[in-house]
Symmetry: C2
Subunit: 491 residues, 2 copies
Amino acid sequence: MAKAKQRLSKRTYQARARVLRAQLVQLQLELKQAPFKVLLILAGPEGAGRGNLLNTLAEWLDPRGVETFSYHAPTDNERAHPHQWRFWRSLPGIGRIGLYAGSWYTETLREEARSARALHHIAEESERIRHFEKLLADGGTLIVKVWLHLSKSAQGRRLRTLRADPATAWRVTEEDWQHHRNYDRLDRTARLIREKTHRHGARWTVIDAEDERTRDLRVGQLLLAQFRRQQQRFARLKQPTGRTAVEPLRPSGLRRLHALPLDQDLSEKDYDSLREKWLGRLSRAVRATLAADRSIVLAFEGWDAAGKGGAIRRLTSAIDPRDYRVIPVAKPTPEEKHAHYLWRFWRDIPRNGRMTIFDRSWYGRVLVERLEGFCRPEEWRRAFAEINDFERELTDHGTIVLKFWLHVSHAEQLRRFRERESTPHKRHKMNEEDWRNRRKRGAYEIAVGDMLALTDTANAPWRLVPADNKRFARLEVLRSASRHLEAALEV
Amino acid sequence: MAKAKQRLSKRTYQARARVLRAQLVQLQLELKQAPFKVLLILAGPEGAGRGNLLNTLAEWLDPRGVETFSYHAPTDNERAHPHQWRFWRSLPGIGRIGLYAGSWYTETLREEARSARALHHIAEESERIRHFEKLLADGGTLIVKVWLHLSKSAQGRRLRTLRADPATAWRVTEEDWQHHRNYDRLDRTARLIREKTHRHGARWTVIDAEDERTRDLRVGQLLLAQFRRQQQRFARLKQPTGRTAVEPLRPSGLRRLHALPLDQDLSEKDYDSLREKWLGRLSRAVRATLAADRSIVLAFEGWDAAGKGGAIRRLTSAIDPRDYRVIPVAKPTPEEKHAHYLWRFWRDIPRNGRMTIFDRSWYGRVLVERLEGFCRPEEWRRAFAEINDFERELTDHGTIVLKFWLHVSHAEQLRRFRERESTPHKRHKMNEEDWRNRRKRGAYEIAVGDMLALTDTANAPWRLVPADNKRFARLEVLRSASRHLEAALEV
């Protein structure tokens, strides 16, 4: 059996810890002003001392800038949402440090890489984690991942020492011994996961955990070093340059938009009877979907004054108010602006058996943010794939996702703008921005075209709704939604 | 059978709605700047049209300033928290309107006032609601409560008319007919609840719901009128006047504080062995408590540099990191400042089987906020009872609540301040405010004394911890916590 390694003397440890603590306090001061957050993920076998390390870090750092996370098995409520939901909702804010004693790795790390089937599952989960961490890292988050290495013999020594002293024996549980017996298999799983999730922006660092003092110092120093590197990365980053000429990425979407006929006609009488018919059908489809414990996400996008609000109100008039929420998406609040652009949408994702209707959505990233230069070109370009991943997470969970683009002609929009301006109770809906956006119709059409071409997926399709005729548009939304739900239920 | 009442003509309705909508839009503009929020609670029998009314209001109001609520039966996660938790966490922000199609009334309104037992339960729930609404109203929230009255015969007519038309028959469910049959009993319950919860700041208004047009207009007008009255109330309100002379409300607490001996001694060796012993005992007690699906709330208060952080870290070293969260309580963020002072603490209340440790707490209301004049005298005076109610809600649910006051002498505090200032990694813990608070020791002692005298309840007691000797204090916290949990489990 290998011998225990040399321990760092208490005196040397204290001297080094003093220097490190002052540096960490300085780090936190700078982080508070920095445009990013830090996630420190701690993983390792039982006895590697995640708990103690967490306590040491809590002592070294100013607790007001730190959040600590550790996850139990998911609760019923968490299981009723897509897998990533619980991690999204607890991400720390910008300028803060998240310490993860448990994380999105915890569940997968418990599996044993024995069968081909288990290996396949581990590979799949690792791939999900890669995507999630890429998204965060691309969004500017610093992800520091530490594997606390403890050899099997060192683990055994630690457990036996604790057990030998009556004052500390309570710290050793039967589960610890079980992990010790399974050390090799768990270690193989962990290696595999680390290999598959070691990537630029989210690298693993293995730190020997046998000597607690050395371990604590090295984790602190790693955090410092990676923080400095992240600062340099941000210093080199160019700020968004504002508006640029808009070129389509994929012209087919624009052609599809222009090919949409807008001259539908529908009498009030026909509308009234058809509306009740389709409301009934939608009501049944929604109730059946929710009763099957599935969730529904509808996203409404469209030109200003295209009638999104009216279409949503007709649709919800068929649904039990307890079952749905309408989320009007306005400019982000300061808190939201500091988070990843998808964060606020994750927050409102419905649980199984519920429905969320977004009045405007995450597509703002590739529409207004692209055109107004609120994000850098590489950011909105990346967003198409990120959005497809996001919607895939939802539909993989079983959520039904449908997106509407309400399309009005330039002339009809003008008529509605003027009507709004001359109606006292509608005037508040109009402002200078609406007129400004209207003048940029050409550029917006290109962005809408790219959106349709790049995010119209089989699992989360777009429905283009001709909306010059309000009655027709409202009916079309009811019809599309009913049919989509009915089809999804039959699969 | 009574005849249907005269309907308002469409033409008159539209003319009045136009005026009302312009006024409501104006209301929302003013509300955005106002220091309060508005809750509009809608209740009434099936068929009274809460859903339709909600849709109309959604059309009239600017959706960006409105949140709509409606509650299903509580989820597992909600049941694992104290009853009020789900209502607290979804309260709208200041300057916004919350529309409640379902509310804290919904469950109780479903009961039938038949047996003495049911009557007793209804009375109890009504009392809870009174307290909750008093708290909100006292905190400045405008609560508008509408009972949509629909007679039994009008309800029957409405259901039959809908059923007769194939296009609308789907709107009538078996549940609706059942409610119709039970009309009288449900109506008696509703009357009882309304009587018991009709109070200043949260009055019920009964509005006839038979004619939908009249109903919608009257609800809109009621909202307007009550909003204006609330504005006038706030205009008359004096701003906090800043510091005032501090007089004790109840001198017994101050005497208790002064009587605490602070000259404990404890060698490092004795401490080490006692610590491990008590950590083991605490670990067992915590695990047993959480395994019994109960939750634990510990609150730490004390003088600056009294050693709260250190005591908390020793305590948590015995607990599985997945089971607890430490919440450091700093100055409220802008979002928190705009909410009720208890809101941010409700947010972090643990679910069953979990533990939250507050490093500083809701007692800031009667300490720093009282002394620095951040709230009006009537506000901090009211807070003692509000806090007792709050803690009672927790312990009624089964949560174990324990509060620590860490007491250091004026001289020992000075020694620690100086040591902090001369240690590089501790310097960030000190600022001018700490010195300022120190100079006000006398006034703070009075506030602490009142706190001890007025909020040391049997269900949520205070433990006074002598903390001049850090080791003694840490041990004392472990001992008190262990014993309190053990005693609570035996009951």
